[in-house]
Symmetry: C2
Subunit: 420 residues, 2 copies
């Protein structure tokens, strides 16, 4: 593929011709492109994704489309998101080695990333719906959130590099606008593209008429749009995680941006809570409780790992301009109180984002398979109602809820109640 | 002056030759450059400033030096600050018309801004030391802070424009680094360039051994360095304000950056409080109380004007992505509660910045004439001690102190106490 070729969406037919001259590709899957098997597998909302299988190996070709795939070409979306995804992947690979797929090739103009085929990995959301277990899941995710949050922030980076990078990622404006609209604003009024399950109306009405709730969500939007604390994944739900029984990888950071340190982990926990609440739609009594308990244990593992790794980095890699050692350790003063203050701030933001994500996945444009695949609408609505009402409490009480154990307790409480 | 001439620091001798061919200059002060009277008047910490007087009119030529004037060429500082000053001045002129000097000419390469000569305006700090009154001072400053804060934020700007501008101003990194170091960090340990008045040691020790205080200041630094809420002046002290008896103008925004909405107004109030505490060093009993009361009335006027104008803009110009009318007014829901939440957030940040500025001007590199001109060191130290201790309370209690009246009460209390 020539680097200066114009953008053109790939098809299984055109792909081999465009990739066959890339050394980084042929060295992996062979140069007989006529023998490659190409399958389009994209099931996300935005992009084309191809699996390209050669004789000995396979790889993934991801290409941005100039519009939102979920909606169609009536909603244009710039190809530059592919650039930001690639930039974010490169930084994540440095900040948490092994956490993301390896990159073989990137072409900005054609919005193409060629990367490692994760196999036999499966999208985590599918595993959570199927009731499958993953060893080390919480640990990998907690470490990923801690390492990317810390190492992308002013706690670690040189201030010149941080500001330069912050400026760069302000260019991912259209993707940030999706988050600003679909996550923070549209769930809370009857926006055009919204939809929700029949029967959910009483709870929807409760939320949309709750002025305090809307205020608090908008205060969180202030943070999303103007707290450039660290480089985030920006879309870290269970569809952006791929797992085997024993390995976990994080994919798809095209929403990468500088935002609040609590954003990724808040969104991640939220998607586990949605998996938790949706379980009665997927399991029978005899496996339900055990699997729900496992999900809650993963949430705990994510957060305790996050705290532990973030604290470890605070003590050993704090070389940025924030909370400098010259002010604390060098004066014989502990910085542990300051660390706790930072962790409290992250926690409160995470809870806010968590609650908001729990709302938008039920009320806004892009829903989760966790609930969508429950065909009994009455059951689905009831489970969604529990999820929505817990989300509300998280947003409103994000400065009071103390720890992850309190979240587990709350989840069990809402899981046992009827809200419709 | 040719636009492509290389940078060279101007002198009173070279200036006429370099400016004489500029139509924007000669149309104002005449084209007989040999008749111009050029005087270097810069008394700030960073730049060259010339008054150029022609037959009918005068103007100001401000030129950045490639180093910090206060320190010398051992501390290099990029000429680009002139670019950021000009960019900020242009935005301020639009957002609060009439508040800043008119610009006649700008040359990026030569780091020169030619602007309106404010006459008979005097630097506000000098007036405050001399005990002079200015009509409408609080109103002009309060409006300036409200209009620039609101109109430079996501409450007003289109999100594309806001993000593009945020990215641009991340380039003012060296000036931000000065603030990050000199204001937020160096006051709180024995940094190399620090100095303070003899006799102040007990209070300095109290502050520097207060771990909670240092933590809170660093939490404020997190906000400074990563809350890009609005385009700020960035250095809004009483040396950046020029007044006649009835008119007030704001100058020198070379520290312009996107930061917390409470930053400018917090620094401004701080400088009035320092003027207040320093008064016993400048006045005799018979005029002291009246003038100190006037200063406190100005603080009140600044903040009440800020609230009133910010609220006015909130109700009439809220066209950005934050707290959109679609969520509130269009649903028959009031947004006044949300407004109060935003004002509380600004207030708390302002108090934090206020207290920190009260510290750094006594403990760090750049001091204020308000205190420096008090030649009796014992008096100076005692007045500075009051100022330092009140600053500490503002930082630690910034989330509890309710309103500007509470600040006035606190100031009177500290003003009546001995702290050494």
């Amino acid at each position: 593929m020539k680097d200066d070729l114009e953008y053109e969406p790939l098809t299984p037919e055109t792909l081999p011709g465009r990739l066959k001259n890339l050394e980084s590709v042929t060295s992996l899957i062979g140069n007989k492109s006529e023998e490659w098997k190409v399958t389009e597998v994209g099931d996300g909302n935005l992009n084309l994704v191809f699996v390209v299988e050669g004789k000995q190996a396979s790889l993934i070709v991801k290409q941005a489309l100039p519009y939102v795939r979920l909606v169609g070409d009536s909603w244009p979306l710039p190809l530059s998101r592919s650039f930001f995804e690639h930039e974010t992947l490169c930084r994540q690979a440095i900040r948490d080695p092994g956490s993301v797929p390896q990159i073989y090739y990137f072409n900005k103009k054609q919005a193409i990333i060629v990367m490692e085929m994760l196999s036999p990995h499966v999208i985590l959301r599918k595993k959570l719906i199927a009731g499958e277990y993953v060893n080390g899941l919480g640990k990998t995710l907690g470490n990923f959130c801690a390492r990317t949050a810390f190492r992308g922030s002013d706690l670690s980076l040189a201030t010149n590099d941080k500001k330069k990078d912050t400026a760069l990622f302000q260019g991912n404006v259209e993707l940030m606008a999706i988050t600003e609209n679909l996550i923070f604003t549209e769930p809370y009024f009857e926006a055009e593209m919204n939809h929700h399950t029949d029967g959910l109306e009483p709870v929807v009405k409760t939320l949309r008429s709750d002025v305090s709730l809307k205020q608090e969500v908008q205060h969180m939007l202030v943070k999303f749009t103007s707290n450039t604390e660290t480089l985030l994944h920006g879309d870290l739900h269970s569809g952006s995680v791929m797992c085997t029984d024993n390995e976990t990888k994080i994919i798809d950071p095209e929403f990468g941006f500088y935002g609040p340190m609590g954003f990724d982990i808040g969104m991640l926990i939220s998607n586990f809570l949605m998996a938790y609440f949706s379980q009665p739609g997927h399991r029978t009594e005899n496996t339900l409780e055990k699997y729900q308990n496992w999900i809650l244990s993963i949430i705990e593992e994510i957060y305790s790992t996050f705290i532990s790794e973030f604290s470890n980095l605070w003590r050993n890699e704090r070389h940025g301009i924030l909370f400098p050692k010259s002010l604390f350790e060098s004066q014989g003063h502990s910085s542990e109180g300051a660390l706790n203050g930072v962790l409290d701030h992250i926690w409160s933001d995470a809870l806010g984002v968590c609650g908001i994500e729990m709302h938008r996945r039920i009320l806004s444009l892009a829903h989760n398979a966790d609930f969508e695949e429950i065909s009994d609408l009455k059951t689905r609505a009831e489970l969604e109602a529990r999820n929505l009402m817990m989300g509300r409490q998280l947003i409103l009480e994000r400065n009071q809820i103390k720890d992850i154990q309190a979240i587990q307790t709350l989840a069990r409480k809402y899981n046992s109640e009827k809200h419709l």
